[in-house]
C-alpha cells in the first residue's frame, strides 16, 4: 500500500504539528514562584507522581500533535493505494471514470462456453465495484453507428450497474472511436469537479474493425486544457485469437440452363483463421420457416484468412417469392454463419403478340424479333403470336399481356382491351407503317398514354449519313423498374439505339398516370407508360423490326422486352432490392390496397409499432436473417404474411472480421503506455485508493477527546 494525496500542496499544513512543540519550547508558561512551607511534601508528591505525569504529558503532547497532524493530513485528502494502483499512470487522487461497454455483434463470440459480452459485462461491473466512494462514473453502451448516449459522471452506482446489466447483445457494428469520444466528452463535463484523474475503461474484444486508428485519439477537455485520459482496455477475449468463418456474400441469378426457374446461387465464404480449412461444408437452403429445406450441399476449401466463392445451381419448382439461405456449420460466432436472400423467381407470363404486319420472310416479320426475345429459355414470358384476325378471336383473359405490333387499329377489340387493362392486364403498343393514329384514338378511347400524331422521319435508312442523323435515346429514366438493370456499360445497349422513324405523340392529353420512360434526342417521347385502372399501358413510338429502328439488334433489346412484358404483367413489380445490412433503415413499399400490419423478425417476434415516414413504412432491422411482412388487406381487413414483401438482412461484415488489434497499436494510439494499457485479464487497475481523510478526522476527534480526558 502507498499513500498519496489529492492536494499535496496542502501538506504544508503539517507545519502546524510543530505548534505544540514550539509552545513547549518557546512559549512555556512561567511557573509562579510561591514560598511554601510544606515543600517536602510537594517534592515527595512530585517524585511519586512524576513518572505518571510525565507519561501523561507525553500523551498530551502526542494527542495534541496527533490532532493537528490528522487535521492537516485530512485536509490534504490522503488516499491509500494498492501497489498496482500506485503504478498506474497519472497523478494520485480520485478519478472520474467512463466505462465503455462494447455490445457489437462480434461480442457474441463464445469462448469457453460464454460470450465475450458476458465477460465484458462482468469486467465492467467489477471495474465499477472497484471505484472509490468519491469517484464519479458513467457508462457508455456502445452498439451501433454514431455517438451513443454518454451522461456526465455521477455517483448513482445503482443506475450504472443497471445500465451495464441491461446492456443487450446487438447485431450491430460498433464504432468505438465514437464511443470513446463520447465518453471523453462526458469526462470533460464542467460538472466533473474534485477529481484528479479521468479514466476510460473500455470493455471490448479488441477487434480491429471497431477502431479507426487514423483518426485522432480522444482527449478530455478540462479546466486546465485538453488532456489525455488514462485508458484501460479490458480484453474480453483474454488475449486469445478469435478465429471465425462466415458467409460474406450471396448472389442468386437466373440460370436458364438449369431450368425455367433455374438460378445460379453464388456464396462467398470468408475465414479469419491461421490455417486453411478443407472440406468446409456449405449448404444452400430454400424456403422459409417450416418449408425450409436443404437444396444443395457442397464442400469447399477455404484458404487461411481468405475467401472463396462457390456457385451452385438450383431450379425452383415454381415462380414467385422465394428465400435462399447459404449456411456454414455454426462456429463460435454463429450469427454470421448464414446469409439469406429473398428473391422473386419470375413466374410465367403469358403474352399475346399481335403481329399486325406478318411477313413470310422471318426476319422481316414484325414479330420475329420480339418472339425470339420472349421465347428464350430463361425468359419467364410465354408468347403466343397471332395476326390481326387471330387477335379478333383471341380471348384476352387467357393472357397477362397483349402486345400490339404494327397493328392498324384494335378494331372491335378496342373496348375489350380497355376493360382488360382496367382489370389488371398489360398492353404494349409498338408503331409501324400500318398504324392509323386516328382510328387508335377513336377505338381505344384514351387507353394509350398519349394520342398518336404523325410519323416523323429522322433519317432515311440506307442513305449516306443516315446513321448519324438517326434519333437516339437521350432522356432515359434509368430508375424505372424496366430499365433498372441497365447500369454502367450496359446502358450503352440503349443509348446506341438508332431510330430513323418514330411516331410523334400529341401532348394535349391531360390525364394523369403517364410517365415518359425515354425520349429521343429531339425531346419526342420514345417510351411512354400510363396507368389505366389496375393495369398498365406502354407505348413504343417506333417499330420492333429493323425498318424504323435498329433496337432489335442491340443487346438491350432482349432483357428490355422480357422486363417490359413482366412489368406489364405485374411480375416485375415485386422484385426485391439487394439485402440490407442490419441496422440500416429500409423502406417497405407495398402495393395499393394493402397496408403493413406487422413485421416478423428472424427471432419469430412480431413488431407492430412501425414508424412511417411520409406514408412509407420505415423499418430498421436490428438482427440479421429473413424478415417477413404481415399485411392487412384494406378491403377485407384480413391479415396474412406476404412472401413477396419478405426481405433479408445481412450481418455487418465488419463484425465478422474478428482480427484483433495488437495491444501495442492501440496503446500507442491512445498516447503510449503512459496513458493506456491493455488488461489481458479483463481486470481494471485495482483502484483500491481508499480515502483515509475520514479516518484521520476520526483520529483527530479521538485525539481531542483524549486530550480532554488527560486534562480532566
Amino acid at each position: 500500500m502507498s499513500l498519496s494525496f489529492l492536494h499535496p500542496a496542502l501538506l504544508w499544513g503539517l507545519a502546524v504539528a510543530a505548534i505544540p512543540l514550539a509552545i513547549h519550547l518557546f512559549y512555556r508558561r512561567r511557573p509562579r514562584a510561591v514560598p511554601f512551607p510544606a515543600i517536602d511534601f510537594v517534592m515527595q508528591a512530585r517524585r511519586e507522581t512524576e513518572r505518571r505525569f510525565k507519561l501523561r504529558r507525553v500523551l498530551l503532547f502526542a494527542a495534541r500533535t496527533a490532532l493537528l497532524v490528522a487535521a492537516a493530513l485530512a485536509i490534504a485528502r490522503p488516499r491509500l493505494s494498492a501497489p498496482e494502483a500506485s503504478a498506474a499512470p497519472g497523478p494520485a487522487g480520485p478519478a472520474a471514470t467512463a466505462i465503455v461497454l462494447d455490445t457489437s455483434a462480434s461480442m457474441a463470440y463464445r469462448l469457453g462456453g460464454r460470450s465475450l459480452l458476458a465477460r465484458a459485462r462482468e469486467d465492467a461491473l467489477e471495474a465499477l465495484r472497484s471505484l472509490g466512494p468519491d469517484e464519479p462514473a458513467t457508462v457508455v453502451v456502445c452498439g451501433g453507428e454514431g455517438a451513443p448516449q454518454a451522461d456526465p459522471p455521477s455517483f448513482d452506482r445503482v443506475e450504472l450497474r443497471r445500465r451495464i446489466a441491461d446492456a443487450d447483445q446487438t447485431y450491430l457494428h460498433s464504432d468505438l472511436n465514437s464511443c470513446v469520444g463520447a465518453a471523453a466528452r462526458a469526462l470533460g463535463d464542467p460538472g466533473v469537479v474534485g477529481v484528479a484523474r479521468r479514466r476510460l475503461l473500455v470493455a471490448t474484444d479488441l477487434t480491429a474493425s471497431a477502431w479507426r486508428l487514423d483518426a485522432p485519439a480522444p482527449v478530455v477537455s478540462t479546466p486546465s486544457g485538453p488532456e489525455r485520459p488514462e485508458v484501460t482496455l479490458l480484453d474480453a477475449a483474454r488475449g486469445e485469437k478469435l478465429p471465425n468463418r462466415w458467409v460474406a456474400g450471396l448472389v442468386a441469378e437466373p440460370e436458364p440452363a438449369v431450368g425455367s426457374h433455374g438460378y445460379r446461387i453464388s456464396a462467398t465464404v470468408s475465414g479469419q483463421e491461421a490455417e486453411a480449412g478443407s472440406d468446409v461444408p456449405l449448404s444452400i437452403r430454400v424456403g422459409a420457416g417450416k418449408d425450409e429445406r436443404t437444396a444443395v450441399r457442397s464442400l469447399l476449401d477455404l484458404p487461411a484468412s481468405g475467401s472463396v466463392k462457390k456457385s451452385l445451381a438450383h431450379d425452383f419448382a415454381t415462380g414467385g417469392p422465394a428465400v435462399v439461405t447459404a449456411s456454414l456449420p455454426p462456429d463460435a460466432l454463429p450469427d454470421d454463419d448464414a446469409l439469406s436472400l429473398a428473391i422473386d423467381v419470375p413466374r410465367e407470363v403469358k403474352a399475346l403478340v399481335v403481329n399486325g404486319a406478318p411477313s413470310a420472310v422471318r426476319h422481316r416479320d414484325v414479330a420475329f424479333f420480339l418472339e425470339a426475345a420472349l421465347s428464350g429459355p430463361a425468359s419467364p414470358v410465354r408468347p403466343t403470336v397471332v395476326d390481326a384476325e387471330g387477335f379478333g378471336k383471341a380471348r384476352l383473359s387467357d393472357f397477362d399481356v397483349v402486345m400490339l405490333l404494327d397493328l392498324r387499329s384494335p378494331g372491335a377489340k378496342g373496348a375489350e382491351l380497355a376493360s382488360f387493362v382496367e382489370g389488371g392486364g398489360g398492353l404494349f403498343v409498338a408503331m409501324g407503317d400500318d398504324v392509323d393514329p386516328d382510328r387508335y384514338e377513336a377505338e381505344m378511347k384514351g387507353l394509350l398514354p398519349a394520342p398518336l400524331h404523325v410519323v416523323k422521319t429522322a433519317a432515311a435508312r440506307g442513305t449516306p449519313g443516315a446513321a448519324e442523323k438517326a434519333a437516339r435515346l437521350a432522356e432515359v429514366d434509368w430508375d424505372h423498374p424496366i430499365l433498372r438493370i441497365f447500369t454502367g456499360p450496359a446502358r450503352e445497349g440503349l443509348e446506341s439505339v438508332r431510330t430513323y422513324r418514330y411516331m410523334l405523340l400529341k401532348p394535349d392529353r391531360k390525364e394523369g398516370g403517364t410517365r415518359v420512360i425515354a425520349r429521343y434526342d429531339d425531346g419526342a417521347p420514345a417510351l411512354v407508360e400510363a396507368r389505366r385502372g389496375r393495369g398498365r399501358v406502354i407505348l413504343y413510338a417506333s417499330t420492333l423490326d429493323p425498318e424504323w429502328s435498329d433496337w432489335t439488334i442491340r443487346t438491350s433489346f432482349l432483357p428490355a422486352m422480357q422486363r417490359i412484358a413482366a412489368w406489364l404483367a405485374g411480375a416485375l413489380e415485386g422484385r426485391h432490392d439487394a439485402p440490407g445490412v442490419v441496422g440500416a433503415p429500409r423502406q417497405l413499399v407495398v402495393p395499393e390496397g394493402i397496408r403493413v400490419a406487422a413485421l416478423l423478425g428472424p427471432d419469430g417476434r412480431e413488431r407492430r409499432d412501425l414508424a412511417t415516414k411520409e406514408g412509407v413504412v420505415v423499418v430498421t432491422p436490428d438482427r440479421p436473417g429473413l424478415w417477413q411482412v404481415r399485411v392487412r388487406d384494406l378491403a377485407t381487413s384480413g391479415e396474412k404474411i406476404d412472401p413477396a414483401l419478405a426481405f433479408a438482412v445481412w450481418p455487418d461484415p465488419r463484425e465478422s472480421d474478428t482480427r484483433r488489434l495488437e495491444p501495442s497499436e492501440l496503446t500507442a494510439w491512445f498516447g503510449g503506455e503512459a496513458h493506456a494499457r491493455v488488461a489481458a485479464d479483463g481486470r481494471a487497475p485495482e483502484n483500491r485508493q481508499q480515502p483515509v481523510w475520514s479516518w484521520l478526522l476520526l483520529l483527530a476527534v479521538a485525539a481531542f477527546l483524549v486530550e480532554g480526558l488527560l486534562l480532566a
Binding site: 508558561r29 510561591v34 514560598p35 511554601f36 515543600i39 510537594v42 515527595q44 512530585r46 501523561r56
Partner: protein, 301 residues
Amino acid sequence: MTEAGKRLLDPEVLARLAGLRLRVRATAEGVLSGLHRSPHHGQSVEFSEHKEYAPGDELRHVDWKAWGKFDKYYVKRFEQETNLRAWLVVDASGSMGYRGAEGRLTKLGYACTLAGTLAHLLVRQQDAAGLAVFAGQVTNALTPRAEPSQVNAILETLEALTPGGETRVESAVAFLAERARRRSAVMVFSDLLDRDERMIRMVADLRRRRHEVTIFHLLDPAEIDFPFDDPTLFLSMEDARSVEARGRDVRRGYLELLGKWLEGLRRTCGESDVEYVLVRTDQPLDEVLVPFLARRERSAA
C-alpha cells in the same frame, strides 16, 4: 459571646488589628466571656502537702502542730505554691511566616496571638508563664513568672519576632529539658515542619519528664487544602530548595502525604499522652482556646 465578640476573634479581623497587644487583649476578653467559669482560681491557701523545713522557707509556714507531734519542722505547702508554670514554646522558623492569602495571619502571627493570649490568661490567674522561642535554636526565653509585668515582657518578645531559620524542635526540647525542671505545662506553637522525623518523639519525651505537653499544630488552610492548579515554583521558606510542579498534578499525592503525616502526629501524640490540637489559621481563636481551656479546667478540677 456577643456577635461583636465573635467577629473580634476572627483571624482576619484580628489580622487587621495593629499590634499584638491589642490582638491579645481582644482575644483574652473574648475568650473570657466565652468561658462558663472564670479560669481564675485565685490565690489558693488550701493545704497541699508538708515539706521538711529548709533554710530560706518562710517561718510562718512552719506547721507547729507537726513539730509537736514529730519534733521536726515541717513547712506547710499550699495550693498557691503549686500554681501552673507554663512554657509557651513558639516556633519562629521561616515556615511560620507563611500565610496562604492576603489579610490572613501568618502562622507565626497566629501563634503569637495564641501564646500571648494564654500568657495573659495565665498571669491573670496568677499562673506563671514563660516563653521560649526557637528558630533553628532557642533565640528567646523568659522564665515563667506570675507577675503582671511578665505578660508585657512576653508580648514584647513575641511582638519583636520575625520568622526565619529552620524548624528545629529538638533545640526547644533540649532547652526545656534543661530549664524546666519543675513540672510545667508546655504549650508548643509550631507547624512542626521539622525535617527531623524524630521531632515528635522528642516532644513526647517532655511528657515523660512529667510536663503537660500541648501541641498547637498550626497550619495555613493552603497547606491543608493545597489550592494550587497551575505550574508553580514552590520555594522553601527555610532553605534554598525549590521544586516546580503543576499544582493539580501533585495535589492528590500531597494531600495523601499530608494526611498520613497528620495521622502519624495525632497517633504519636495520643500514644504519648500529648495533647494535640490542629489549628487552621483561618479558624477563630476562641474555637481553639475555649475548648482547650475548658479541658484544662476539667482536668484541674
